[in-house]
Symmetry: C2
């Protein structure tokens, strides 16, 4: 059985969701697993007092809730930001991947390692960079991820994120986020308006934020 056929057999359901749908709740353990087919979503953790940290943005092709079948629980929430389509994969047969599709399993590990790399740079961002640099970096990184998926132009992209979500991703207050956004614009680096990201001076922006280009990740569209 080839990989494509194999994966398509795992598919249980195709679901359409409006924005702000909670796909996964922290603490759930249903063992279900999804892939994001179209649209944007984000992973987050909530804290007492309405505080929240956005952990990562999910783009088409990303897996949602892999923890569930593999470790038993998901400890974060996942929520859509736009209209989205997700595929539910049946968890039970999914575990067979390891025995039956070793190349897929290896690809899965490679993907997880790239995610880890992204988490690492996010830690550097929150631990050691100033507000505006954080924003610049996040925009560059996200734009690069969109490019990989042909969801962006060379220097602009649809960017349907509310500023609340962005500030929670950057560990900033909404107010400080707004100021950083203005600063980025004034330095002529990038603009963010009406859901449109525009990179005005990528070169300067990269050195400003300490952005490191990642290897183009050989993304497997499958899974």
């Amino acid at each position: 059985v080839d990989e494509l056929t194999y994966v398509s057999r795992l598919k249980a359901e195709h679901i359409r969701l409006p924005p702000r749908s909670h796909v996964v709740e922290a603490g759930s353990n249903g063992g279900i697993l999804y892939t994001l087919y179209s649209g944007w979503a984000f992973r987050y953790k909530s804290l007492p007092g309405g505080r929240r940290q956005v952990l990562d943005f999910l783009l088409p092709g990303d897996l949602i809730g892999l923890q569930s079948p593999m470790t038993g629980t998901v400890r974060h929430g996942v929520c859509t930001m736009t209209d989205a389509e997700i595929c539910a994969l049946r968890a039970q047969p999914f575990r067979g991947v390891f025995a039956e599709q070793p190349a897929l399993a290896a690809g899965l590990v490679a993907t997880l390692l790239l995610d880890e790399e992204r988490a690492d740079t996010r830690l550097v961002l929150l631990g050691r960079q100033r507000a505006t640099q954080r924003l610049a970096y996040l925009l560059l990184e996200t734009h690069a991820r969109l490019l990989e998926r042909d969801l962006a132009d060379e220097d602009s992209a649809e960017f349907p994120l509310t500023y609340d979500i962005l500030s929670d991703a950057l560990g900033l207050s909404r107010a400080q986020f707004a100021r950083s956004r203005v600063e980025l614009r004034q330095r002529g680096l990038a603009s963010l308006e009406n859901g449109q990201l525009r990179l005005l001076d990528r070169q300067t922006m990269q050195s400003f934020s300490g952005y490191e280009e990642l290897a183009p990740s050989h993304r497997r569209a499958i899974l």
Copy 2:
């Protein structure tokens, strides 16, 4: 071939290292892979201006440099903090794990997901918690990891970290770290002296820092 035998065949070398040995440098791509056999190490990224972010602590049993064989490059450094022993695994045959030991591969994925979970909580820490809470959380988490490996007592442990490393892990300056350490002591939560961690009031400390117990991770000693 059973798992233990299989893994032992991968083993190429057993190496002893003094403290402050750089096991892996950011950007290297030798394809070598290690396991930490004994001692402590840490993963980090350096920034221009001598700044640094410590990403994670590595404890006995952890893999070092899995990126190398799987994605081609390692983007972080790894450095020992104590005397340490590491096993080098040959990368070429290691890739055979997926075809030949599916259960091991699945375990590997589960481990990576638990690491990701830890990275997530670290992001919450740096993005949304105050200095003293960060410290409290990190101490609780690390103590739990030591307990899993039988390297700690119920409420104390060897803790051979310089304060420099701890502050770089918490995204704090050394001065602020020192103040937080004093505050923890004064609140009667924990003390950290002469390389000894002592948890004085775990209950209060957990609610103070927002610590969530993780499922006891079914660690596989292998790999």
